[in-house]
Amino acid sequence: MRPDPAPTDPTPTEPGPTDPAPCIRLEGVSHRYGPTEALSDISLSLPPGGSLGLIGPDGVGKSTLLGLIAGIRRIQQGSVTVLGADLARADRRAAVSGRIAYMPQGLGRNLYPTLSVAENVDFFARLYGQSPQERARHIDELLDATGIAAFRDRPAGKLSGGMKQKLALCCALVHDPDLMILDEPTTGIDPLSRVQFWRLIDRIRARRPGMSLVVATAQMSEAETFDTIVALDHGRVLARGTAREIQEATGTATLDEAFVALLPTPVRAPTDAALPPRRAVDGPPAIEAEGLVKRFGDFTAVDRVSFRIEAGEIFGFLGSNGCGKTTTMKMLTGLLAPTEGEARVFGSPVTALGNDALGNDMRRRVGYMSQSFSLYAELSTRQNLDMHADLFALAPDRKRRRVAALLEQFDLGEVADARPDRLPIGVRQRLQLAVAMLHEPDMLILDEPTSGVDPIARDRFWDLLYDLSRNGGVTIFISTHLMEEVTRCDRVSLMHAGRVLAVGAPETLRAEQGAASLEEAFIRYLEQAEPPARESSASEPPQEAAPSPGRTSDAGPVGIFSPRRCWAFARREALELWRDPILLSFALLGPLILMLAMGYGISFDVDSLTYAALDQDRSRESRMFLRQLSSSPYFAEAPALSGFADLDRQMSAGRIALAVVVPPGFGRDLLAGHSPELAGWLDGANPVRAETIRGYLEAAFQGYLEEYAMTETGHAAALPPVTVETRFRYNQAFRSTDAIAPGVLMMLLIMIPAMLTALGVVREKELGSITNFYAAPVRRIEFLIGKQLPYIGVAMLSVACLLALMLGLFGVPFAGGPVALLAGALLYTTAATAFGLVVSTFVRSQIAAIFATAIIVMIPAVNFSGMMYPAAALEGAARVIGHGFPSLYFQNIATGVFNKGLDLARLYPNHLILAGFVAAYWVAASVLLRKQED
């Protein structure tokens, strides 16, 4: 079963008694994701200074294995010992993680795109606790050695694929690791950058001979130089040994062939690479591009690109990520409008967005597959196909036929009901291809369709493309960075930095450069195009770089809390925030706008209440009463009512809030001393308003009685036996703004900071940079507090703006202690941001994070904190919720300082409780936050 070559190698791969202390030792490691087994009983070891290549297509467990070795993935079964530490133990893991460097899969996935090259490296250096001098020296040295020193101030997001990988390497090397783990480092970069990358790795290894290296790659040819190669398939080791041993054992000439030979299931030999000649097709060329230019701001992504693709041709597009391939393809599909130039598809110009008939007609003839997975992860494989069939308006029977055929053709039958987010990349790519071909288009535009697809599936896919091209006359425009695929195209074009360097049949291009292989030819083309200054030092001999100074970073125990590492996170977060001025301005302007609207808008001084009278008496006495109402500033009179039906109608429509009814014969009865009864009808829809009206109405009625007594008897009504003198404390003027503004401050200071931190962590999870937290020797609390600090800063800035608004514009009195308020605000925003962190540990999506903070925070803050109604009157669950949330205590502080003129001496219990909330949230977030993946 396992053609394991005998370990004749000087670096034995099986753990043996002679091996003193292997750098890596895995024993019986298995790993599953739900029902899927990713790794099954893997044992291997690597001596210090050795190199190990993991080969195999995507989805076979390479990344899982690397994650386990790096300590970022939780060990389920078996033991993993790295640099003498058992990685199952958190303390050992933390101690050793400072000696491991891990570079995850995906171009620059763990980099921060808005940070510059130097800032990215600086962040990693800080994370490992290096001093300023060390950092400066390391950054210069590494950027020089990798040849990206010229771009040190460019944001990482704007680097080409190759440069991103070099930067990621710098970041990984900044702490002089003893073990370097690279997960598919060259996937998606151009041939020249690839060659440069491996040369760089060789030089680094020459400088640090003690460093061990583990690399996973899907491109078997890259693994040839490693001491040990382990071929993986479906979570099992197929073979191990040197490249030669494996080739000898399988009787093959290349690793690629050896791998295919190793697979347990017999695989049909790949079709002969020679293409049958293309039949000429009449009609206009399938694609014509003339001088296409696309600029984003001052960045030219595509620079005067022209080419022609004949109908039925297979046209290859080669180049690194970020060279403009994707942008060109998008312009041809109409997704992007070119800045200059013109594109024609099947003779008609491409209209951007194509929401007219012509554009849609073109879309029906074109199948497009984008580079990143862009189907719905929430729908099953079959549902995705069905939905696209419907959108392309396939007739029901054709839809059924096509979906069945594609499931069969792309070997997706087994996963028809599985959701794509659970499937390996290779399977997802097959699904995307199936979707692109669903409506049997005349042209396929495929953006790197086979990246991550294993060699066997790739061969079958190309058979299909041949068939479509030669027998179906389908034009195929395909981009790739794989050399094997380029040779299969009718013609190829080499693109670099937005420009097309060469176009022609593969053989012609090779001959033109006089190169032995197409790859070599391309490297020459690229070298000719490169400005000579760029990457100069990359080709220098290794001694050019200063000798490695040896270990400089903290590699010992991690310690309880390192302010330095915490500051590394805080500084980076602040830089990212600073680079997003839109977010920052929303964060500062939003609260100001809200304070303005609420301060003016929320008021309890109700006036101009609309009322109408139904005067059935129309006497002098009734008019005297009604005059009391019409002269009141609180009431606004609506036209008199004609009867009770009118009263009903007006009140139902909400046009009047109060109706007063004077009965017939009121004046007569009054004079006769029969004590007639006046009636007031309130609109009870809004009880608060109704209560207020009742109060005003009763006051008006009292006024009427006094006036009546004066006119009838000549002297005032008898004084009541007791007077109740009301003293409105704290807000003598009874101004709503004074009462409500502190509450608005309380509300704003929790909603916005909490949402910002909640999103902060979830976003890192979605985008992948959370890996840095997993991989680095940092404590959870350092990460959490570091994450929080910039947002506390923003919140305190917001406090300053809001206070200026409250005191300056609204003239809210400020009688209490400023220290009490500022200390309270600091504690409160710290609690708010910490609460956001707690939320972020249990929500998965950014939508849920926004929603959870909005809904969870809004109710206790607005309803149960005492902002609108006194907290003392709360009952039941509301009382518990109100007291279990920080808002109520800051509300106490804010009203205490603003309205009641209190200082810290009186308010400090609230501060203590707020501090308690901060501590509780920190503990909760630390417990809930995972330091590893599953």
């Binding site: 992007l336 409008a337 209560e691 036996p721 109740v724 404390r729 704290y730 009874f734 959870a852 109604y869």
Partner: protein, 375 residues
């Protein structure tokens, strides 16, 4: 036209699938329309209820005892007797909202007809309670003193009386108001966030671009988001009104739920369009979140669902006429409390629909513009 309809339906169904797969989100929606309604309606009493009155009784007479005893639940918690020196403290700490200072010799002065003065200290930071409570307490004291003097006939002697009754909510119970208004507030919050975030998510995941490379028009994508998210929220709100508000809280809903559902549908069209419009201004999810907060907070707090519209300054009231929430709250109050028919509320429905149409057109124009500008 049929294609527009077909694609819109198809994409909307997809939207429903996506929603149903995010269990945390489904859980939050359920929470929003159940627990969040119930606790607020039960817990937050806007009427005078459980008010805490502290009494400094310097008289210790029969009359002062009677006054203390007259402050009864459910309006008041049993009056707490404190010393004069504690008066400031109980108000400062917010433990009591009112403090009554009964002077020495009150009873004697009353009997002698010297019309003594009782001082009522009110924490005016809680303004609604302060106003209503003052009125209640004053009239209770007056009634108690009159009763003490055996001068109940004082009332009869008045030349005329005023009877005030409230329609639609005879006892002016606040839970009738808060529960329904909370449903509306949560509906607004949800509609803004769900529709807008759905667009941002598609953009961040690259699926939007994929759709646009197919024979699908931007209008179809936007409409699908609107109807799918709107439908979920509408169903949740109607369920909440019947199960939580009517059955759980025992609030009688006077009007037709069908009419309400129709109006809510129109309103949701407007608000989800607004959400999509916001999503075209923000480029990332955090930006969208920060943009959405002021929008839904203003819509909720200044719509008349929290404080009466009459209390807002005139210019702001005019501005808020551009908010569909203002008209929808008026519509909902008319239909649900006052049993108003379509003959009465059609102007509000028309206005909400018109505003919704304007938002929709803006959203669509902006949506196309952002796609064209995107990478």
């Amino acid at each position: 036209m049929t294609r527009l309809l077909r694609n819109t339906v198809r994409l909307g169904v997809k939207e429903l699938y996506s929603l149903s797969r995010d269990l945390v989100l489904v859980g939050l929606i359920a929470y929003t329309f159940t627990v969040a309604i119930y606790t607020v309606a039960r817990g937050q009493q806007t009427e005078l209820s459980n008010a805490v009155v502290s009494v400094v009784d310097e008289d210790r007479s029969v009359l002062s005892q009677r006054i203390r005893g007259a402050l009864l639940p459910p309006h008041f918690r049993p009056a707490e007797l404190i010393g004069l020196d504690a008066l400031d403290r109980v108000l400062d700490s917010g433990r009591a909202s009112f403090a009554l200072d009964i002077p020495p010799g009150l009873q004697a002065d009353v009997l002698a007809g010297r019309a003594p003065t009782i001082q009522l200290n009110v924490d005016a930071t809680a303004m609604t309670l302060a106003g209503n409570g003052t009125r209640y307490i004053s009239s209770i004291i007056q009634a108690e003193v009159a009763d003490f003097l055996g001068r109940a006939e004082d009332q009869v002697a008045a030349p005329t009386t005023l009877t005030v009754r409230a329609r639609f909510n005879p006892n002016l119970e606040s839970s009738w108001f808060t529960s329904v208004m909370q449903v509306i507030n949560n509906l607004t919050t949800l509609a803004v966030i769900l529709s807008g975030a759905a667009v941002i998510r598609e953009r961040e995941h690259g699926t939007l671009e994929h759709l646009l490379a197919m024979p699908v028009r931007p209008a179809e994508i936007v409409l699908a988001k609107i109807w799918a998210n709107g439908l979920v929220i509408l169903l949740a709100a109607i369920l909440s009104l019947t199960l939580v508000v009517q059955i759980g809280l025992g609030v009688p809903v006077a009007g037709s739920l069908w009419l309400f559902a129709l109006g809510a549908g129109i309103y949701l069209f407007a608000i989800t369009s607004l959400g999509v419009m916001l999503s075209t201004i923000a480029t990332t999810m955090p930006q969208f979140g920060l943009l959405a907060i002021p929008v839904f907070v203003v819509l909720n707090l200044l719509s008349g669902a929290t404080t009466p519209l009459e209390s807002m300054p005139e210019p702001l009231r005019t501005v808020m006429l551009a908010s569909p929430a203002t008209h929808f709250v008026a519509f909902a109050q008319a239909v649900l409390y006052r049993d108003a028919g379509i003959g009465i509320v059609w102007p509000e429905m028309l206005t909400v629909g018109g505003l919704g149409g304007a938002f929709f057109v803006c959203a669509l124009i902006r949506f196309r513009a952002t796609i064209a500008a995107a990478r």
